[in-house]
Every structure is written in structure tokens, then in C-alpha cells.
Amino acid sequence: MYLQNKLENKISLFNKIKKLDGILLVCIVLIGVISLATMYSTDGGRILFHTKSHFLKFVIFTSLMLVISFLNIRFWFSIGYLSYLIILAMLIWTIHFGITASGSQRWIDLYFINIQPSELMKICIILCLAKFFHRKRLENVNSLYSVIISLVVIFLPMSLVIIQPDLGTSLLISISGILVLWFAGLNHKYFFYSFLISVISLPFIISFLKPYQKLRVLTFLNPDRDPLGAGYQIIQSKIAVGSGGIFGKGFLKGTQSYLEFLPEKHTDFIFTLFSEEFGFFGSVFLLIIYSIMIYRIIKIGVISRSYFAKLFCYSFGTSMFVYIIINMSMVLGLLPIVGSPLPIMSYGGSSMLATMLGLGIVMSAKIHSDQSIA
């Protein structure tokens, strides 16, 4: 039986390519193309820095994703804890030696690239917790020991990111972690109670927020209280989306972005620009591609034999969904503004790297779906 396993483990490269998930790949490339076109528009219809850089990153990281997907899923299982610890160390490094930009210390200089460890943590926390729960029996999942361990695993990176300060990413990290707990079968009542506690403690949390964060919450509740100041972003963003209409203003014709009314149009607000130029249909089209992508990720989870792969795919797929929804809700004025990029679309190397890393692992799970992990 062991031998048989061993034999199965060896899949030829040709077979691996054949087993690549085509639909998922098409979705990724499609989103990549859309994001490049949008980036081209943010550069005012010229190929400037952002477009070039985004193109380069997309090509490099997509290739990286393919390489990752050919690695056995067992490899990812084996480095689950290690990768978490490395990124955690990087986060600690960031606090002391990180690069500061626009008021927060998020990046570390790796000489050839500046990297944002907090983005990578979104993936590694899933890897780590998936490995942790892979071997847990269901009845042990709710034991005090495992609950405490998993909470520590979540809280450590979360607090390290919060002090950068980067509330948005730390929220996304903890959501990723909590999602793993949910899929691992943690008792419903924990979620229910912690939800209750967080609602009750919300006012206290708000009192601990930094002034600019408080301002964001207040602005979200009423953007018109300071239309040229704190409310500017959200008002302009809504104007851009709203004025797009059914079919949009047309490629390269988004006046809001072209005339520089849109803030942060390369990164968090990129959907706004896209939506202004391509309208309701364009936005729904993009949403459909994202939905297919997430559907494929979860589908891969369903067909995976190993519990680890399942847990990873479900958690990662759902996290992706959450990232997309939070970003869109933010630009559509449904949520306060927290820094959260739109996967693949937004400009930013670390975010792209993290997304591609996750997708690579999902691809690997697809290729090695028959593999079981002891």
C-alpha cells in the first residue's frame, strides 16, 4: 500500500500540465488582462510606470503560481508551520526595520524587492491552521488546548499588523484565520458568543482607534459631514461609480479618474475606475469572473482527497470572497474605508504575490487531488 502510494505520488510533468485547472487559469488571466487595461487607463491612456510595473508583476507572479502548482501538496503541508513562523519573524522585523510609507511601517527591504509581510500572512495563517487542524480529531477541535493555540496563532500576527498600523490587513488576516476555525468545525456557539462580545465591545474598540480611523468610521456613517476632507474619497468614488451608468463612459473616458477626482485609483479604488468606464454590465461581468474563480477554488476543495487541501481551498476561496466583498463594499459606500486591495486588480506586489501564492497552492491541490496526507 505504501509502495502504491509512492507510485501514485510520482506524476509526470506532462500529466501535471494536463491536470491544471483550465477554468481557474482562464479566470486569472482574464482578470489580469482587465486589470492591465484598467491600469493603462489610470495612467491616462499611456503606458507609464504603473502599467509596466503591474504587467511585469502579473507575468512574474503568474509564472510563479504555475511553478508552485507543480509542487506536491504535501510539500505545502510540511512547511505549514515553518512559513507561518518565517512571516511572523518578518513582521517582527518590520516593526524595527520596516520602511515607512504614508504613515505606516509595512514594508521590509529585501534588496531586490520591497515586500509587505502582512499580505503574505493572509495565506500563511491559512496554511498553518489548516495543518494544525488536519490531524485533529473532530472531538478535539473544541478542546481548550486547540482553541487557545489557534487563537494565539491568529492574535500574534494580527496585533503585529495593527501596530504598523494597518487595520485593514490585520482584519483580513484574522478573518482568514477565523474562517479556517469555522471550517475545522469549531462549535457554532464560539462564533455566536464572540460575535456578541465584539458587537458589545465595539464602542470601546472605537475609543481605542486612532483619530484618522475614527474619522473614517464617522465619515462612513455620514460622508457629507466633510465633503472636501475625510468624506472626499467616498463621495468621489460613489460619483464615479454612479455616473458610469449601465454601459459606462467608455474605456479611457472616465472623467472622474482622468481629471484626478479619484483618490488611490491605482490601488484600493481601482474598481471605481473600472466601474465608471464599463458601467453596470462591466462591473457585473467582473463579479461573475471572480465568482467563477471562487467557485473553482471551492470545487477543487470538494474533489481533494486530503483534509488539509480541502480546508485550505475552502478557507482560501472564502477569504478571497471576503477580500473582494470588503473592497467593493468600501468603494460603494457600504463599509467604512479600510485599506484592502482588490485581488489581482489592485496595484501592489505583495498583494499580488500573496494571491498568486494561494492560487498556486489551490492549483497544486487540483493537480494532486488524489493525494492523501497521512
Binding site: G242, S243, G245, F261, I294, F321
Partner: protein, 625 residues
């Protein structure tokens, strides 16, 4: 295998939870789509408007101001093309070099140069800096010749206010100048049309007719970016020129009035006694309103402001003067109307040695030797004060004030047309009680009878009074502006007197004063019946005459300027068929007979000559319609 069954349980659990979340995801996705639907389809119009509001900005340009025309359609306040120099700092490669080049070409003083630099710092780099607002042709062409060296400098021809007759109409029209904060706050229409460089009326009719004159802004529509920088011009919408305001005045006569009063302080008013049209209204000294259009220099302003002859005051309507003897026709008329005396009533004027004495006060006639026995006609003709002391004493101030008010004294002639018109003052016993808080004294009635004391009139009121005497005692409604919409509808025909005989008598008395020997203005008469006029002189004291003064009996030129009497004259003509009335006032001009009346002679010649032209113009106008 325990492991196996546990795995199955775990897989069931994870799949069940995935299913729950999948449903949640679909719901949330639906939420996002419906939000998109709401923003992009349902509220699309609203956000589209907001987006246009964001990107489209309108630039208003100053509107072209409407003209003022005189009766014959001559433009008395129009527009001219001012040569200006504009510069957009952002478009200039080397601002320092360029501005110094301009300084050398235009030979600007350091003070002016600093002013430009200061203005430059106040505006955004893409806004227009007006370097010079009114260049002469020579400098303008010099700039144009050097344009190759002045990158980003724009020579512009801009429309600005122009008063072709300079000081002639200053007090009627007022002047325009840069709109300031007060103008914007006090007028909605200025607020609405305000742009940098907008000029608005500051005084006179320019101010009163701001609404008609201002016109509508031309609008340039630009696409701008988030920082307000113009990206491209989208549209240009031409504004309308302001409406033309037609006046009743005759420039020829107005000009003459200007010439007659040159170097003197005073006023001339000429009025049509039937239509109430103001033919001329001038206050002297005047000043050139063109100086205010681009902002007057401090030195020039101080010169005007500190001039002792007070050029800033429109003496015709805001100068309160004692009417002096010009009130006598009203005193006589009031006495006749009230049946106090008849024209044959006689008083013995015995000169300075035997003045009228009342409660220890003495009241002198102006004539040292006295007039002897005078009846009413003779008293008017020679302006005998003693006679009118007695008439006023018998008449009483209340009856007198009633008649005076009826004839337009003590009340604004133009209602609210001018902001600075004065009421004048026609006192009576009730007024004194209410305002001063003392009882009326008989002595005050007596001096009111010769137009001294509390009584105050403006020259235009005296002109109106004379006009209403001349037209046989009918109320008229003075007009300065021809309004085609409401010509004479509001003018009710009201007779101001009970008996035509009385008014006829007053007219005859005024005739004799000018045209009979010993009349006070006999020297200024015109014998030709075509021009012959009737009038009444007046000499208003500005200070009380003491016994010492009376003894000295100085000539006018020997008295200090501020203490000299005001010279007045009111008249109407031609006597046979009256049509025009006038009032002349010369501040500190000495006696009315020798200084004011001669001007009337010159005026009536011109007025009567112009009458034919005016009449023909009117009939032609109606024929054209």
C-alpha cells in the same frame, strides 16, 4: 478504522459548513449587485450630474453695461474698448524676466510694480493676472511690437465704461467702479453677476438703475481637473448687454449749465412745466467720472474730497438752502388763496431807520432807504421784505407751509430715484413742537416769510415750485428717465390752487420783477417776446446780519467767501406761452439779482431755441412708430 470514520465525520462537517457559507456568499453577492444597480442605474442621473458638476466649471465674464442716452439719443454714458494686458503666470517661462521687461516697456513706477507683484501672489498660477487695465494706444502697440519677447503675455481689448461728456453729467449719472464687498452684500443681482473686474454704479442713476444696466454675464464653460486647472473649453455663451436707459435731459443745455457755473459752486435745474421732464440738472463743481472706472488714485481722490466747493455733493437735490426771496411768490399766493390780503394791500416800508419791531427784535428790509408804500405787485417786483414780514405775520406759518408743501417744497422731488436726495424742510408749529420741543415764535413766522430761518429747500424743489406756478397751478411729476411703459398714466391732473386769478397775478408779479424798471432782475431781461421770461430773485443769508454789518455795508467781494450770501434765481418762460422753468443757485454768489439772474438770460436763449428741435424730435419719434 477509527481514523477513517473520524475522517468521514470531519468531511461531513466541513462540507456542511461550506454549504452554509456558500448560501451566505450568494446572498452577499446579490447585495453587491443590487448596490451597483442602485448606484449605476437607479441613481445614475444624480451621480452623472454630480460628476458633471465636478468636472465642468463655468467662468463668468463681466457683462457689458447698458448705455445712458439723452433725450435725443446721444450716448452720455457708454462703453469703450480698453486696452489691457493679461498674463497667466503659469504660462510664462520666466516670470521675473517677463515682468521686468513689461516694467521697462510701460515705464511703470516702483509702486505700481510692487502692486502687480502683490496681486500675483494672491492668485493661483493658472489664473489671469491683470498687469495693466487701461493702456493708451502707444503703450499697447509697444507691447504688441515686443510680444515675441513676452511669452505668455496677452494683450486684450476689454469693454469698459466711458463718459464722453466727462464732468457734464457726473451728478445725474454718478459713476461706476470696481464692485466691493458692500455692493455685493447689498444687492442680489450684483452678487449673482459678480466676477473679478465687474464694475457697478456707486452713485446717481448708475446705482439706481443697476438692475437695468448690468446685463448678463457671458459664460465660458471649461472642463477642469480635481485641482481646478482648466483642461479644455467646452462652450461659450454670449451674454446680453444691459438695457439702455433714456433720460429726458438735453445735452446742449446741460453743457451750457456746466459752462455757466464753471469755477463756482452751485446748481442749475431746468424743467418742462407740463411734462415734468428735467431738461438739465447740474451741480457745480463737477469732476470727471471716467477717473473712477479703473480706480481713482489717492491724490486725485483727496483733491476732489477736500475741495471746499464740495464737488461730491449733488447740490441740485442734496443741497439744503434757505430759499430767500424766491419763496415770496408762494407767500403771496398763500395769502391770496387763504383770503388774508388782496393784491391791493399796502405796507409802508421805511428802510433801516424804522424797521419792524416785535418783542424787542427788529426786522429790516434789505433796502436801506426803504421802498415806501408798496402793494403786493410792487413788493414782489422789488422784493420788499417789510411787505412780506407783514403778510407772513397775518398769514401764519401753518397756512404758508400748507401751500409750500402743495407746491413741492419739503418733499423729495424724485421720490426714491436717488439715494442722496434731501427732503428740505418746510416748518410749521407742529413740526417745531415735535422736533425741537419748543413753541413756535411769531418772529420765526416773519423770517419764514422771506425764506430765512428754519425753511430749507433744494434747488430742484424751487424749480418744481416755479414750474407749477408757471403752468397755472397744476401738479406735475418731474421725470429724469423716459420709461416707455408708464408714460403719464400715474400723473393725475390736480389743480393746486382755488382760483386761476391768484396764480395769474403771481405770474404777472414775477414778470414785472424781471421786465419792469426797478424790478430786481430787470438788468437780465430779454425784450424779444420769443425769449422773454419772468422770474424771482433770492439772496439767502448764510449768517445773521448784525447791526455792525449793516453799518459797514460791504460789497460782496469784500466779505470772506464762506460768509457771502447764496445767490438764487427762479424763472419761467417764454412768458407769453410758458414751457420751461428753471432754478439757479450760486453758493456764496452774493445777490441773486446781479449774479444768478444773468445766467437765466443765457439759459433761456438756448432753451427756447432748443424747444423747436425737441418738439420736432418728439413728433418724428411718434411718426416713426
Amino acid at each position: 478504522m477509527i481514523n477513517q470514520s473520524d475522517n468521514v465525520v470531519k468531511l461531513n462537517s466541513i462540507n456542511r459548513r461550506m454549504f452554509i457559507l456558500a448560501i451566505a456568499k450568494i446572498t452577499i453577492l446579490g447585495g453587491i449587485v443590487s448596490r451597483l444597480f442602485f448606484l449605476q442605474i437607479k441613481e445614475n442621473k444624480k451621480y452623472l450630474t454630480l460628476s458633471d458638476k465636478n468636472r465642468i466649471r463655468e467662468w463668468k465674464l463681466p457683462p457689458v453695461r447698458g448705455d445712458f442716452q439723452d433725450y435725443f439719443g446721444n450716448i452720455i454714458a457708454g462703453n469703450f474698448e480698453a486696452y489691457q494686458l493679461h498674463l497667466i503666470p503659469e504660462q510664462v517661462d520666466n516670470f521675473k524676466y517677463t515682468i521686468n521687461r513689461i516694467k521697462n516697456i510701460l515705464e511703470l513706477s516702483n509702486k505700481e510694480f510692487q502692486k502687480i507683484l502683490k496681486r500675483k501672489n494672491e492668485i493661483k498660477p493658472w489664473e489671469t493676472l491683470i498687469v495693466a487695465d487701461n493702456l493708451n494706444w502707444e503703450n499697447f502697440s509697444k507691447i504688441n511690437n515686443n510680444l515675441y519677447d513676452l511669452n505668455g503675455v496677452k494683450p486684450i481689448i476689454s469693454i469698459s465704461r466711458n463718459y464722453p461728456y466727462k464732468g457734464n453729467y457726473t451728478h445725474i449719472l454718478g459713476y461706476v467702479s470696481q464692485a466691493n464687498e458692500n455692493d455685493i452684500l447689498s444687492s442680489e443681482i450684483i452678487k449673482e453677476k459678480f466676477v473679478q473686474g465687474l464694475k457697478v454704479g456707486k452713485t446717481g442713476l448708475e446705482k439706481s438703475f443697476e438692475h437695468n444696466l448690468i446685463g448678463t454675464n457671458s459664460i465660458e464653460r471649461y472642463e477642469v481637473n480635481a485641482y481646478g486647472r482648466r483642461v479644455s473649453q467646452l462652450a461659450f455663451q454670449e451674454g446680453d448687454k444691459g438695457k439702455t436707459v433714456k433720460l429726458t435731459v438735453d445735452t446742449k443745455i446741460q453743457k451750457l449749465a456746466n459752462e455757466l457755473l464753471i469755477d463756482q459752486a452751485g446748481s442749475i435745474c431746468v424743467m418742462d412745466i407740463f411734462t415734468g421732464h428735467i431738461i438739465a440738472m447740474h451741480s457745480s463743481p463737477s469732476f470727471d467720472p471716467n477717473a473712477f472706472v479703473f480706480g481713482i488714485s489717492q491724490d486725485e481722490w483727496q483733491l476732489i474730497r477736500n475741495n471746499p466747493m464740495k464737488p461730491l455733493i449733488n447740490k441740485s437735490i442734496s443741497g439744503n438752502y434757505s430759499p430767500g426771496s424766491t419763496i415770496k411768490p408762494i407767500v403771496a399766493l398763500s395769502a391770496l388763496e387763504n383770503g388774508i390780503v388782496n393784491p391791493n394791500f399796502t405796507v409802508h416800508c421805511r428802510g433801516h431807520k424804522h424797521p419792524l419791531e416785535l418783542y424787542g427784535q427788529t426786522y429790516h428790509c434789505w433796502k436801506k432807504e426803504g421802498h415806501g408804500y408798496v402793494n403786493m405787485k410792487e413788493a414782489m417786483k422789488q422784493s420788499c421784505d417789510s411787505y412780506f414780514y407783514e403778510v407772513a405775520r397775518r398769514l401764519g406759518v401753518d397756512k404758508l407751509s400748507e401751500t409750500a408743501k402743495k407746491f413741492g417744497l419739503g418733499k423729495k422731488v424724485f421720490n426714491d430715484l436717488f439715494g442722496n436726495e434731501k427732503n428740505g424742510l418746510v416748518p410749521n408749529t407742529e413740526w417745531k413742537k415735535n422736533v425741537i420741543g419748543r413753541n413756535w415764535l411769531l418772529g420765526e413766522t416773519i423770517i419764514t416769510g422771506i425764506g430765512q430761518g428754519y425753511i430749507q429747500t433744494t434747488p430742484i424743489q424751487l424749480c418744481l415750485m416755479t414750474a407749477q406756478i408757471a403752468n397755472g397751478g397744476h401738479k406735475i411729476y418731474p421725470k429724469l428717465v423716459i420709461d416707455d411703459n408708464l408714460s403719464f398714466e400715474n400723473d393725475k391732473f390736480i389743480s393746486l390752487v382755488n382760483s386761476k386769478k391768484h396764480i395769474k397775478f403771481i405770474q404777472e408779479a414775477m414778470f414785472s420783477s424781471t421786465n419792469e424798471i426797478r424790478g430786481t432782475s430787470y438788468k437780465s431781461r430779454i425784450d424779444d417776446p420769443k425769449y422773454q421770461f419772468a422770474g424771482k430773485t433770492g439772496t439767502a443769508q448764510v449768517k445773521r446780519i448784525t447791526d455792525r454789518d449793516r453799518e459797514l455795508d460791504l460789497k460782496t467781494s469784500e466779505i470772506p467767501y464762506e460768509e457771502r450770501d447764496h445767490a438764487l434765481y427762479v424763472a419761467f418762460g417764454p412768458y407769453k406761452n410758458p414751457r420751461y422753468a428753471l432754478s439757479i443757485l450760486i453758493e456764496h454768489g452774493g445777490s441773486g439779482g446781479s449774479n444768478a439772474a444773468p445766467l437765466a438770460k443765457k439759459l433761456f436763449k438756448e432753451i427756447v431755441d432748443r424747444h423747436e428741435i425737441r418738439k420736432n424730435f418728439e413728433t418724428k419719434k411718434y411718426l416713426n412708430i
